[in-house]
């Protein structure tokens, strides 16, 4: 008798780091495997159990027409669908192509561009199908991943705060690096979840977890300008792993006009 919920892990365009977070749960992995049936997880197992799946974790962004169809099939056979990481949730660093001419990108990298099948854009999973929860981060926090899996298994809302990295610095007792050292930091507009590691290592936050809830980008831009940061550098700072997240995208496009 096997009534464990079925878990599936799917990959789209990505670095594999977020699904690796599951294997990095070294102390919890074997317990997870007892609680859920790992039904589809090709990075870890050859075994494939047929769908439907109770919970699908989706890593990566949609960058090919084949993948745009594949995500529809995955949605159809998934009870809950959770995106894991910046690629699946915001399009990832590969979404920088969305401001460029992808055929030029292809010919920069490949000698025979005609062999390459790619879409003009890199888009998050939520642009294609309904998503039940978006877990942010580049990479995600494995503790938040465990929380989300547990929440879905128990049909409760995941406890994943949307406040900014600043709150984590306060909790950790790290003095504000922007105030104390004049180091540009994206912490005030970036969602918590990493544990505010960058300021604790004497560097400014660089936005791995994407926009926090209601981020005040213009206030941050004024701060950065006061620290002597040029507009193109602020635009670049907003255009990394979460470049296509709506709040970062809108602000970077406005600031790009100012240069």
């Amino acid at each position: 008798m096997n009534k464990r919920p079925k878990l599936a892990v799917w990959k789209f365009a990505s670095c594999d780091g977020c699904q690796l977070s599951l294997l990095d749960c070294e102390e919890e992995l074997l317990a997870i495997a007892e609680t859920v049936e790992i039904a589809y997880f090709p990075e870890a197992t050859r075994a494939v159990v047929e769908g439907p799946y109770d919970l699908s974790l989706v890593e990566g962004s949609v960058t090919t027409s084949h993948d745009a169809e594949r995500i529809q099939e995955i949605r159809a056979q998934s009870g809950a669908l959770v995106t894991i990481g910046a690629c699946a949730t915001a399009g990832g660093i590969q979404a920088l192509r969305n401001w460029a001419d992808v055929s030029a990108f292809t010919s920069i990298v490949y000698a025979e561009p005609s062999f390459i099948n790619t879409l003009e854009t890199s888009t998050p999973i939520g642009a294609h199908v309904e998503v039940d929860f978006e877990l942010r981060g580049c990479p995600i926090s494995k503790y938040q991943l465990l929380e989300v899996v547990d929440a879905f298994l128990h049909e409760r809302k995941p406890n994943v705060p949307r406040h900014s990295v600043c709150i984590e610095c306060k909790a950790r007792g790290t003095p504000c690096i922007m105030v104390r050292d004049g180091v540009p930091c994206l912490g005030p507009v970036t969602q918590a979840g990493c544990g505010a590691i960058c300021p604790a290592y004497d560097r400014g936050c660089y936005g791995c977890f994407g926009p926090a809830e209601t981020p005040n980008l213009d206030a941050l831009a004024a701060w950065w300008e006061g620290l002597g940061v040029e507009m193109p550098d602020l635009v670049r700072a907003l255009r990394t792993f979460n470049a296509y997240a709506p709040e970062f995208r809108e602000a970077s496009e406005r600031y790009a006009q100012r240069t």
């Binding site: 495997a33 075994a47 920069i108």
Partner: protein
């Protein structure tokens, strides 16, 4: 009437990324064989253009969640080469130390979760745990020690935040490193035990006369820097990479195929490192290699699992040695002023040589980038291995042949996410 058989593995399991294999046999002869990479391209070389030189380690780390330190090291080596900056030994030691952490977590994952199940007949490491709970638990703990080392030095294990051009943002206190010593000593014993365990696996009789290519330094087992050497007489600086190697774009792969100009396929990774740097093995690693019956050269790719275990011993011994001699550097980084120049950087990713080249303008903006990951360098070797392996085994039933060929691919621990995205227009001109 000809007898035709096809084996088509549409999605390879227990490798990093999206790959496939296709084999066509006609009268038990190989008519077609392809190791295919269909992972969608992410165009890193293109999106790096116009970014600042200092952003390369954070951006290229995102090529691979399993070996980000390799990308951070090769990119920083290249940027420091372009700027004409050299790091003091103490900072090099810290880079070697965090790289040891990456070798431990990556080799630990591959040995216990991706490769050992092939030898013992399990679909996964998790399935293997049902019968070998203590063994798998030890593998997980060993991998965790590597991750803990990366997290301490790098801030976190996946996409570390503390690595920068010129050094680090913050260097640890001696007491912080000492806190890991006990776990590392446990890990060293666990790694020695891993060599003994995997060396008892059944290995097919299969050897190839590879051209091995790896980094080499006279005084230590090369990891984070070195000259590029081979067993066919190659001995070059990283700057000479474009003179010696070339890449080709084939239709069935989103990863370019690399070859030695005028010679062809070559082999990077644990077998190459071990065979070219046997003299530089750390003492216990050498002892375990001898006990495992490995000679000074290993040409059987199926034994790569034993060599990876020997390299785990190297990584633990080196980590302990570096911590033992550690004095906190006075500065976490040396200043780096960009100049109009081209820089070349190499390091030994867990899967093999990783080469980066960047052209920088005087303001520090990247004009062009080239990244050659180990798996794209090994693609030709992988295909040749598969063809040779099928010879004489074509009579095996399809499912058996398929699983053995998958195992032969896993010998390389291919990282397909890494391999998808490479060279620039120079290929065309080559």
């Amino acid at each position: 009437m000809h007898k035709e058989r096809e084996i088509d593995v549409a999605y390879l399991a227990r490798v990093e990324g999206e790959g496939a294999m296709y084999l066509k046999l006609v009268d038990d002869q190989v008519a077609d064989l392809k190791f295919k990479i269909f992972e969608p391209p992410r165009f890193f070389e293109a999106l790096l253009q116009g970014r600042r030189f200092s952003e390369a380690p954070d951006i290229t780390a995102r090529i691979c969640g399993i070996c980000p330190i390799a990308y951070q090291t090769s990119s920083c080596n290249a940027m420091e080469d372009a700027a004409g900056v050299s790091l003091p030994d103490a900072l090099h030691d810290l880079r070697r130390l965090i790289y040891c952490g990456e070798w431990i977590e990556s080799h630990g994952l591959h040995i216990y979760f991706l490769h050992a199940p092939d030898f013992l007949g399990y679909v996964s490491g998790i399935a293997m745990a049902a019968e070998f709970p203590e063994r798998v638990a030890a593998g997980l703990r060993l991998k965790k020690v590597g991750n803990d080392l990366m997290a301490l030095l790098g801030g976190r294990e996946i996409h570390p935040i503390n690595y920068r051009v010129g050094g680090f943002y913050r260097v640890p206190k001696r007491s912080e490193l000492e806190a890991l010593e006990q776990d590392l000593r446990w890990g060293l014993e666990a790694a020695r035990d891993t060599v003994r365990w995997v060396s008892g696996f059944p290995f097919p009789q299969f050897e190839r006369d590879y051209e091995f290519v790896a980094l080499h330094t006279p005084d230590e087992y090369a990891i984070h820097r070195g000259r590029i050497v081979s067993n066919r007489g190659l001995d070059i600086s990283p700057r000479e990479w474009p003179d010696v190697f070339e890449e080709e774009h084939v239709e069935w792969s989103n990863a370019l195929h690399a070859r030695v100009k005028g010679r062809g396929a070559y082999h990077v990774g644990p077998l190459a490192r071990y065979s070219l740097n046997y003299e530089q093995l750390t003492p216990l690693a050498r002892e375990e290699a001898e006990r495992a019956g490995l000679g000074a050269t290993c040409r059987n790719p199926f034994q790569s699992i034993v060599v990876r275990a020997v390299e785990l011993v190297v990584a633990f011994e080196e980590a302990l040695r570096i911590i033992d001699g550690y004095e906190r550097p006075s500065q976490p980084a040396v200043p780096v002023e960009p100049r109009n120049a081209t820089g070349h950087g190499v390091s030994e990713a867990p899967r093999g040589l990783l080469y980066h080249r960047y052209e920088i303008d005087g303001a520090g903006h990247i004009q062009s980038a080239q990244i050659v990951p180990p798996t794209s360098q090994n693609q030709l070797s992988i295909e040749e291995d598969l063809k040779r392996y099928v010879e004489g085994r074509a009579q095996l039933p399809d499912d058996e042949l398929q699983s053995q060929l998958e195992q032969a691919i896993r010998n390389y621990d291919p990282c397909i996410s890494c391999a998808t995205h490479f060279l620039d227009l120079e290929v065309d001109r080559a």
